[in-house]
């Protein structure tokens, strides 16, 4: 039981990092990144590939972060000329390209089989202690990611990002470089997502193209919308709730008599209905974005 709870906790924390990253893009800046899973994949594959060559995991994280950051910056620049909906479609296409490469470059990525036996962290410990230590580590990383996201959101940079989301022309007229702001926020978010991917691959000790399906991005979107678009705390809340829900529905076959195929359908359906329901009934999410109070006079 403890191990199960720790497992869900680890997964929730990993997803929360991802949700913080997506919230910076979608919630704060209004950049509809449908290809978030590509950044996660870059991080995960970097860690897994380097691990299979016995390179220390920290190097894998660094390489993943650099690659993902560069990819994020490029995607952000692509956003320059595009209306937001086509940009969203373009990001989806890019993520599918990444998945196809992962699927077809067998020698490098293990192809459809993916890469398994990725060694985790705290390998020296016994099972339960190791889960606990892993959980603690990832919670610390999540804490750092949360602080970073919060500081960025609440400072001048966050103010500019929100203004870009709401009225980009106004932001540009006030000497804010809209392109650079988007490029930088994409790079930062991509780095966060790659860290999430690295931990994900290490925790389930596997990464394959099946993990890079668009549904993985969709799951994170659900977390961010349920938590409240634009609210940093909301992203974490949403991540925890949706992880519990999505993981819980693994046991759907214990409750009703359906085939494995149908059970998979039910799990996806539940997530889809939750997202659609929130969009229709409570668009602002559980923890809505706040209008900040005025600073006091000195």
């Amino acid at each position: 039981m403890v191990e199960y709870l720790l497992g869900v906790g680890i997964l929730a924390a990993v997803y929360a990092i991802n949700a913080l990253s997506l919230n910076l893009q979608v919630g704060v800046t209004g950049l509809l990144n449908f290809g978030q899973v590509a950044f996660v994949g870059i991080g995960a594959y970097s860690v897994a590939i380097l691990d299979s060559h016995d390179v220390p995991w920290i190097v894998g994280f660094l390489v993943g972060a650099v690659l993902a950051g560069a990819a994020g910056a490029l995607v952000g620049r692509l956003g320059r000329t595009l209306a937001s909906d086509y940009w969203a479609i373009a990001t989806l296409a890019l993520a599918e390209l990444v998945r196809l490469v992962a699927l077809n470059q067998d020698g490098f990525t293990g192809g459809a089989q993916g890469l398994s036996a990725v060694s985790g962290i705290w390998t020296g410990m016994s099972t339960t202690a190791r889960e606990a230590a892993t959980f603690a580590t990832i919670v610390v990383v999540l804490g750092i990611a949360y602080l970073v996201a919060r500081r960025v959101r609440n400072g001048q940079y966050g103010r500019v990002l929100v203004l870009i989301r709401e009225n980009p022309d106004l932001a540009a007229s006030l000497r804010h470089n809209v392109v650079s702001a988007k490029v930088r926020v994409m790079a930062l978010s991509a780095v966060m997502a790659s860290v999430c991917g690295g931990f994900y691959a290490m925790y389930i000790s596997f990464i394959g193209p099946g993990q890079l399906l668009p549904f993985a991005t969709f799951l994170i979107f659900t977390m961010v919308v349920v938590g409240g678009l634009g609210n940093t705390t909301g992203a974490v809340v949403g991540a925890v709730l949706i992880t519990v829900l999505y993981d819980g529905t693994r046991f759907v076959r214990d409750w009703i008599d359906v085939s494995a195929d149908q059970a998979a359908g039910i799990r996806i359906l539940v997530i889809g209905v939750v997202l659609l329901g929130f969009l229709l009934v409570r668009t602002e999410g559980l923890v809505p974005e706040k209008v900040k109070a005025a600073h006091a006079r000195r």
Partner: protein
């Protein structure tokens, strides 16, 4: 070479039927409907359900198309109108969510294994070295016929004029006494109906699976965007061009460039559409640019 031609005609037709619908919706509502391709999947499965109930293939197909068209209007009224009120971003996420819900529902009902429509076994025709089935010929003819019909309707009927008026200026149409709501309803029926036709044709040619629509999402968007959104003719031309490019890329011997003989792996076929989409979006965004918001 003939193979490329046949391939282009078949796949291009499927993409074109979907791309014109997407373009019509985009033109009238200024909104990219990610769930559009799911109407194709729904078309395929309605035909499966109706033939399963004992109806003939032709009747099932016609009823299936009608069902999907009606469902589209219901979804628009119940769902999309509400989503659109919360802004284009919410509408886009919402259409993605709807797509997932439709796919998951179908998986729940039919499982993820492909289904086949009861089509008579027909002998392929050898056409200068390429094998063509009669169903492929029908597919291309029906598609071209419908596309031509759509073009005529849009160009010469009062409905067509109304659609074009709404597309040209969504806000103004109300003022000039047009019933905008009616026009939008009809556009949804038309575009979802065409999508369903495309799905059924594809199901007859091969099979229908829950991923039928999703696998077409990016090529269809690529065609609609490359064609310059809102342009029916552009979307059709781009659809066939894209299909041709996909087919050619696999046929070409890249050895001339990289040395030796080197064909691209078939697994990369969808990548052509993605890559083309990204390249087009990056370098030739005319007609699809965040058109300078009026800064009056």
């Amino acid at each position: 070479m003939v193979e490329v031609l046949v391939d282009t005609a078949v796949r291009g037709s499927i993409i074109a039927l979907l791309a014109v619908g997407l373009t019509l919706i985009q033109g009238t509502l200024r909104f990219a409907n990610v769930a559009h391709v799911e109407f194709a999947t729904l078309g395929g499965y309605s035909a499966v359900a109706l033939t399963g109930a004992g109806l003939g293939l032709l009747l099932s197909s016609a009823l299936g198309v009608a069902l999907v068209a009606v469902l589209a209007v219901v979804l628009y009224r119940l769902l999309f109108r509400r989503l659109l009120r919360s802004g284009p971003m919410i509408a886009l996420i919402g259409s993605l969510a709807l797509a997932i819900v439709i796919r998951a529902t179908l998986q729940l009902l039919y499982g993820s294994r492909p289904r086949y429509l009861p089509t008579p076994l027909e002998r392929g025709i050898d056409f200068h070295g390429a094998l063509i089935t009669p169903s492929q010929i029908r597919l291309v003819c029906i598609s071209l016929g419908l596309l031509a019909l759509l073009a005529l309707v849009l160009k010469f009927t009062s409905l067509g004029r109304a659609v074009r008026a709404v597309a040209a200026n969504p806000e103004l149409a109300d003022v000039s006494g047009l019933n905008r709501g009616r026009v939008v309803d009809i556009v949804w029926m038309l575009s979802a109906g065409l999508a369903a036709v495309s799905g059924i044709l594809l199901s007859i040619d091969s099979a229908v699976g829950i991923e039928l629509g999703f696998n077409l999402l990016l090529p269809v968007f690529a065609a609609a965007i490359v064609g310059g959104l809102g342009s029916i003719a552009g979307a059709v031309i781009a659809a066939y061009a894209l299909a041709c490019a996909e087919s050619l890329v696999l046929q070409i011997d890249w050895g001339a460039i990289v040395g030796g003989t080197h064909h691209l792996e078939v697994g990369y076929r969808p990548a052509v559409g993605f890559a083309l989409l990204v390249v087009m979006l990056a370098f030739r965004p005319q007609g699809l640019m965040g058109r300078a918001v009026r800064r009056g």
